[in-house]
């Protein structure tokens, strides 16, 4: 039974696209058939983080407008063959997305894949609303910072009222993904703690992704961090999150840098 997951946040720049790529790749690496869809029409970036930017021929808008068939627009990942992506259009505007068109595409994708992951644009306009409308589950990406927490609260309210499930009187399963977390700064009282954000937003925690240079390095080369640096702290955090997403009980922890013998002997290298 296919599951539609929206990765959303309200605020921009908190790590939606990074998390979509990492969660999608991690699910595919564990053998699931996965498609990630970019809903950010006009400002697509999922292709860049997946490293498929030069392979885009047709996009979501082409499929919706009947200019291409779905299989023509789907791009299969060269590293994990159960991972696919459907890019957004870079030239059209967000009005090119229609509710009927999106419903048809999601319906077709549900027949082909185990997981349909929708990367929402920032904001609360049409693109974001369409990205969340068909969701069975949502990953709310939040930074431990006031504006991000406030926007996440707003988005959680919308998941409870503006989705197909909400209209049928059902619930969208909601998960909090706390990204760019600094355990040391939180400990010093300079950053909201995990418990603070959980208490304020009161939705279950899917994972804590620590701030790490591995995330930028992965995006630089166009490879999801779970493929580029699976043993890095964010890599391991995304793998744990994916296990929890599939119902596995994994103890919650903030992964730390694994230190090799050399760095243990000679201390940390200078960043």
């Amino acid at each position: 039974m296919a599951k539609v997951l929206v990765v959303t946040s309200g605020k921009g720049g908190v790590g939606k696209t990074t998390s979509t790529a990492a969660l999608g790749a991690a699910l595919a690496q564990s053998g699931r058939n996965v498609v990630v869809i970019d809903f950010d029409v006009g400002l697509r970036n999922l292709d860049l983080l997946m490293g498929t930017e030069r392979r885009v021929v047709f996009d979501l808008v082409n499929v919706i407008q009947g200019e291409a068939r779905l299989p023509q627009a789907l791009i299969r990942d060269k590293r994990v063959d159960t991972l696919h992506m459907l890019p957004a259009s870079q030239t059209k505007d967000k009005d090119a997305l229609t509710p009927e068109g999106v419903a048809r595409v999601i319906g077709e994708l549900k027949e082909r894949f185990d997981w349909v992951i929708c990367d929402s644009p920032a904001g609360i306009e049409k693109g974001a609303m369409l990205a969340m409308y068909h969701a069975d589950a949502a990953v709310v990406v939040t930074n431990p910072e006031v504006s991000s927490v406030r926007d996440s609260d707003r988005i959680i309210g919308m998941l409870d009222s503006r989705t197909a499930r909400a209209e049928r009187g059902e619930r969208v399963e909601k998960h909090l993904l706390l990204t760019r977390y600094h355990p040391a700064r939180a400990l010093r009282g300079d950053m909201l703690k995990v418990e603070d954000v959980l208490e304020i937003l009161s939705i279950p925690l899917l994972g804590i992704i620590p701030e790490s240079e591995a995330v930028l390095a992965a995006s630089n080369v166009g490879t999801p961090v779970t493929l580029h640096a699976p043993d890095s702290p964010p890599g391991r955090a995304y793998f744990d999150a994916v296990k929890r997403l599939q119902g596995e009980a994994v103890p919650m922890a903030v992964p730390e840098e694994k230190r090799g013998l050399m760095s243990k002997l000679f201390g940390r290298r200078v960043a």
Binding site: V146, R154, A186
Partner: protein
């Protein structure tokens, strides 16, 4: 006063947490129950208007959602009979809705 208090600055995260809790309690009340609150306000105004004139701003309806129960707060400022000479008196009513 701590003599060395100036050496350690006050952590900012508890401030962030408190500001968010206050702000979101308000924003949830506004966006979560806007229809109900607006409708209640109109009906209350209509009932009171049957008996004496009342300005719209004198009726405040607030809905606070909580885990165990929500609180519906209705505050109606009623002018005293001699309002023309004196400042208006205050009448308030609070209800707890399970």
């Amino acid at each position: 006063m701590n003599l060395f208090g100036f050496l350690k600055s006050r952590p900012s995260a508890p401030v962030a947490r408190e500001r968010l809790q206050i702000l979101l309690a308000h924003e949830r009340a506004v966006s979560g129950g806007s229809d109900l609150v607006a409708q209640l306000k109109e009906e209350i105004l209509a009932v009171i208007a049957k008996h004496f004139p009342l300005e719209r701003e004198k009726v405040q309806v607030k809905l606070d959602r909580g885990d165990a129960f929500s609180t519906l707060e209705i505050d109606i400022e009623v002018p005293s009979p001699t309002a023309a000479h004196k400042t208006a008196g205050n009448g308030g009513a609070k209800l707890a809705a399970p």
